[in-house]
């Protein structure tokens, strides 16, 4: 009798396993054509200036060029960093001919804010706190059949790696606790210094903190623009779009290096994924 009981138990265990582990994409079969669902295009851009400028936040005079870059690349959702406040968002949305809706994060104690813009009309917006700073996220449906998509815009501390680590940890925890079934992207300027050769002396543990923060993000997400190259001046790759590991297929990742205007030190990062 016990072999039958064992086989029944193993069969039920496997069924429970199959229910528990949820595949986010349907199987693609050998020698069958690759299937591609609708394509979602995301862009992140820190539109502030380099730190040595008198005002390193975004400049209103640049917003027309920012809007042009957005319109030319036609992303479905945009994460922006280092705006001065709601006035700049209003100017930007006007320059975008009201094709996007957007909100900014609460300023908190900072003098600059993050923003998120979405093309679809029925988007919901919410802000979230991480290490005393605020980020902002948009939740929307890309099409009628598509799952809920969340894009969060975040900006980590530029000067203290230990703070970046805490901030990243809290943003990642917030993102991975979004409702089951939704596809979450976290985009923004995380300021990670991951090149050990640049930080190889014994008086700082920046590389350690940043690599741990980056590793934590990679534990749950995928760095979608990893192969796209540097995103800021001085050969730095500090702007990221983290996305789900399995449920989307990366179709394009590009740093738009001709898009910078004024004394901006970052370039926009554009990512296109198949849902």
């Amino acid at each position: 009798m016990w072999p039958k009981t064992l086989l029944t138990f193993l069969c039920l265990l496997m069924i429970a396993g199959a229910i528990h582990f949820d595949p986010s994409r349907a199987r693609s079969l050998l020698a069958s054509g690759a299937r591609d669902g609708p394509r979602l295009r995301l862009l992140t851009w820190n539109i502030g200036y380099a730190a040595f400028e008198a005002d390193s936040r975004a400049h209103t005079k640049d917003l027309k060029a920012v809007a042009e870059t957005i319109l030319n690349n036609d992303p479905d959702a945009v994460a922006l960093q280092e705006l001065t406040g709601p006035d700049q968002l209003k100017v930007l949305l006007t320059n975008l001919h009201d094709r996007y809706r957007g909100v900014i994060a609460p300023a908190g104690s900072s003098d600059r804010v993050e923003a998120v813009l979405v093309k679809v009309r029925d988007a919901r917006f919410e802000s979230f706190a991480a290490d005393g700073k605020y980020g902002v996220a948009a939740t929307f449906h890309f099409s009628d059949q598509s799952p809920e998509i969340v894009l969060a815009s975040a900006h980590a501390d530029a000067f203290k790696a230990a703070r970046r680590r805490v901030f990243t940890g809290e943003v990642v925890d917030w993102a991975r606790n979004r409702p089951r079934g939704s596809i979450v992207f976290v985009a923004g300027d995380f300021n990670f210094e991951l090149k050990a050769k640049d930080e190889s002396h014994l008086y700082t543990d920046n590389v350690k903190n940043d690599s741990e923060a980056y590793s934590y993000a990679l534990k749950y997400f995928r760095d979608l623009a990893r192969e796209a190259g540097d995103t800021a001046v001085d050969d730095r790759r500090i702007d990221y779009i983290f996305g789900p590991k399995e449920s989307v297929a990366l179709r394009r990742a590009e740093v738009l290096r001709n898009a910078g205007v004024g004394k901006m030190d970052h370039w926009p990062v554009l990512v296109e994924v198949g849902l």
């Binding site: 396993g17 199987r27 079969l29 054509g33």
Partner: protein
């Protein structure tokens, strides 16, 4: 049980189908090698076959690992299942056909032990077959094509969505994993063959019924009209074994489909065990 396992293993090793399956796979590898050489010759001229791996645009793309990957992928769906179905289908029905089943069943071992030991032997055979095939491909790849990293591109294999790479040692490790995942996937066929072996009187009927069922789902799964039915075919779930070759293994998907295969294996085997336990053996 151990004596039974030993006896069943000896029986399998002495059977012609055992040797036939290994020889056929060796011939397949030779044909694959010839096919790749002639393809390169046709595409790039006769002089290039002396430096086969340099006939591609990317000098590091084609190597022994790429050869092994293509060979394993293409044979897995159509060639290896035939041998697994053949051996699995012969287990009970073959004994019945030769008139030895009744004699075995009067020995003081339970029918359940008999069928389970037969299944375990088939599982061991399946692993040997897959491991032999992968090992042979790697060996032939190493000797005739050369070593290197395994570069993956979206294309005929439909394995990855974007270009990726596995370093040589990592790729070899993935081939080792593939021998396990491939065996697990093929055990679904083995379990079905065992069930049919219990149900049908002759080994050939059991084998053909298994292959017919497998090929029917495999073909229908690739026809556009039946796209909505595809998730319900066991052949779709069996394809999970290839995921170990992806640079980033999609673990959730891997475990999901692996578990479904497990449910098929144990569920079908249980059914076979129950039927065999109650079956009136008259032959």
């Amino acid at each position: 049980m151990f004596t039974q396992l030993k006896l069943e293993s000896q029986k399998l090793i002495r059977s012609r189908s055992f040797l036939l399956s290994f020889c056929s796979l060796a011939i397949f590898v030779a044909l694959m090698l010839w096919g790749f050489y002639s393809y390169a010759e046709r595409k790039a001229g006769e002089q290039v076959t002396s430096q086969f791996k340099y006939t591609y645009e990317s000098k590091s793309y084609f190597n022994g690992l790429t050869f092994a990957l293509y060979s394993v992928m293409f044979s897995f769906s159509l060639l290896i299942p035939i041998f697994v179905a053949m051996v699995g289908g012969a287990q009970i029905a073959g004994e019945r056909q030769t008139g030895t089943l009744r004699m075995i069943c009067v020995r003081p071992i339970s029918r359940i032990s008999l069928i389970l030991s037969k299944f375990l032997v088939v599982a061991g055979y399946t692993y040997l077959l897959v491991a032999f095939f992968i090992g042979l491909n790697l060996l032939v790849g190493l000797c005739f094509v050369g070593w290197g990293d395994l570069q993956l591109y979206p294309g005929a294999l439909n394995l990855v969505d974007e270009p990726g790479k596995l370093l040589r040692d990592e790729a070899l490790q993935r081939f080792a994993y593939a021998s396990l995942t491939g065996t697990w996937a093929l055990l679904v066929i083995a379990a079905i063959a065992m069930l049919f072996s219990v149900l049908f009187e002759s080994a050939s009927t059991a084998t053909i019924a298994t292959l017919a069922l497998y090929l029917m789902f495999l073909i229908i799964g690739r026809v556009e009209f039946f796209e909505n039915l595809r998730p319900y075919f066991f052949t779709t779930d069996m394809d999970f074994w290839r995921d170990v070759f992806k640079p980033e293994v999609p673990w959730d998907s891997f475990r999901h489909y692996g578990s479904i295969c497990g449910a098929y294996i144990f569920g079908v085997l249980l059914l076979g065990v129950v039927i065999f336990d109650r079956k009136d053996i008259t032959s």
